[in-house]
Amino acid sequence: MGQLLGHAVPKSLSHLFMILISLIMIVPFLWMLSTSFKLQEEVFQYPIQWIPQVFHFENYVEVWTSIPFPLYYFNSLKVSVLVTLGQLITCSLAGYAFARLDFPGKNRLFIMYFAAFMIPYQVIMIPQYFVIKKLGLVDSHWALILLEIFSPYGVFLMRQFLSGISKELSEAARIDGCNEFGIFARIILPLAKPALATLGIFAFSWVWNDFQAPLIYLTSDSLKTLPLGLASLNGEFTSQTQLVMAGTVLSLIPVVTVFLFFQRYFISGITAGSVKG
């Protein structure tokens, strides 16, 4: 808008406006953070006391100990890490084939992947359940891991990135007698680190935040992931908002940390599909 607006609006006014909108986006989170340190009777006091007089860290201790929060945390971490590794391996291999190799049926297969990525989850969730049930994997982490590893989006993303790397690099390696897997592992993958980081972060935060699939497949309390734990915390402790907020803060920490450190990969994952595609 530099070009669109020119100098029509003074800078100080722009800043004021930007701060106002930032507040609309951030205030609910600030309220959550502030509430998580309060006593029950302070939660709904008005006017809102944004900085509590005494910080009650014991809310966090209580959430951590009164429900199996550490277990939910571990389960979420386990499933998210395994799915992320699985996606990085299988999607980069498949993306490589689509981007840099020729084979009969390539276009048809790619259209199939692309179509799958447009189908809403709820359309295939019942037949998926049928398949997982036949495999005897209902109420296990395997159900989530298997359903989420083979992501069409991941293949699509890797293909977009990998087709941007010069073909001459592969040819030079082929002339030197390097086999295709060697080219993939030793030459192309090291160049595709930003793409791998993008896919990794995308997969991790997707699985970490996923709710509906865990809700369907995980019935044993010992297997539940964090979003399920948070939803049941919210249902059980309705009157103890400060505890629910402390649990929510804990659930946000990993994804927010990843975002703060790897912001640019987060953003490239979003724009890759629309602009480069």
Partner: protein, 315 residues
């Protein structure tokens, strides 16, 4: 290039020499093609079993009755006949369309405005961008839990604040008139930052020379927006509308946590009803028929979009 040509499975060289095309099997067994299939295999096997096969099965299950335990029973069109008479389904469908188009409109207005704002050179811009994007990072469950507390009609901070200006602030999630609107607001608030980034990438792709030329011609802001920004942005807008609508049709988490479809049936969405019918009431066949209707609607909307694309998308 020469080595690449040698390994291309179409093998034009070979066909010239022998005077005929190699068969499909020969082309598939060509060394490079074989390598390619090996690269594809790990993902393709999982994709076929867990995504492609279920997609095909989805079509069939709508014509059956299945309770999750006993064998699947073929019932023909009866699920669809029942759907047409089911008031629950009609309400869920209405709510879904209202929710999807309402949120989509808000998301597009908000995200385009945000993108225009953050596409300026200003101190602290990366902080503003991060702030606008922040709700997208949090899970829908976290967002739902926080907003549910904020919307609390008697004690919540929102109505405490509004209470200073009006005698009867809205009941938000507990009022059947306001509940769907509340969910629409939260969705748009959460999703705007994501689409802002897409619009921003589009805006940064517009050549500065166009604006300079327009300035020389004396075009004002509105004219520049209407005649340069909007048309140049149209491919991105097209992409945003399609993905936004598909994402909204899939929204489940907010309703599950914040309202459970209520009060009454005021926030019952199609995807929520599909979940309840299948995994709560064990009517998997009936729910599959609903899912197929959902799919057909999404397909029809996407098709209309692509048909209309030529009229307003510029390149």
């Amino acid at each position: 290039m020469s080595s690449l040509n040698k390994s291309v499975p179409a093998a034009q060289g070979a066909s010239l020499a022998k005077g005929r095309e190699p068969s499909l099997w020969q082309r598939m067994m060509h060394p490079q093609a074989r390598t390619a299939y090996l690269f594809l295999l790990p993902n393709l096997l999982g994709f076929l079993l867990f995504i492609a096969v279920p997609s095909v099965m989805a079509l069939g299950l709508g014509f059956t009755e299945w309770d999750g335990y006993n064998p699947v029973k073929w019932t023909g069109l009866s699920n669809y006949v029942r759907l047409m008479q089911d008031e629950n389904f009609r309400i869920a469908l209405q709510n879904t369309l209202l929710y999807t188009f309402g949120s989509c409109l808000l998301v597009i207005i908000a995200s385009l405005s945000l993108a225009l704002l953050v596409n300026q050179k200003m101190k602290g811009m990366s902080l503003y961008r991060a702030a606008f994007f922040f709700p997208h990072i949090a899970s829908f469950i976290a967002v739902a839990v926080v907003w549910q507390a904020i919307f609390n009609p008697t004690l919540g901070p929102l109505n405490m604040f509004l209470g200073k200006f009006m005698d009867h602030p809205p009941g938000w999630l507990i009022s059947s008139d306001w509940a769907l609107f509340s969910i629409i607001l939260v969705s748009a608030w959460k999703m705007a930052g994501y689409y802002m980034l897409l619009f921003l990438a589009g805006l940064q792709g517009i050549s500065k020379e166009l604006y300079e030329a327009a300035n020389i011609d004396g075009a004002n802001i509105l004219q520049r927006f209407r005649n340069i920004t909007l048309p140049m942005l149209s491919p991105v807008t097209f992409f945003v509308i399609i993905t936004c609508i598909i994402n909204l049709f899939k929204s489940f988490d907010l309703v599950y946590v914040m309202t459970g479809g209520g009060p009454g049936r005021s926030t019952k969405l199609l995807v929520y009803d599909i979940f309840v019918q299948s995994f709560r009431n064990s009517a998997f066949g009936y729910a599959s028929a609903e899912a197929i209707v959902l799919f057909l609607i999404v397909l029809a909307i996407t098709y209309v979009q692509f048909k209309g694309e030529k009229r307003w998308v510029n390149y």
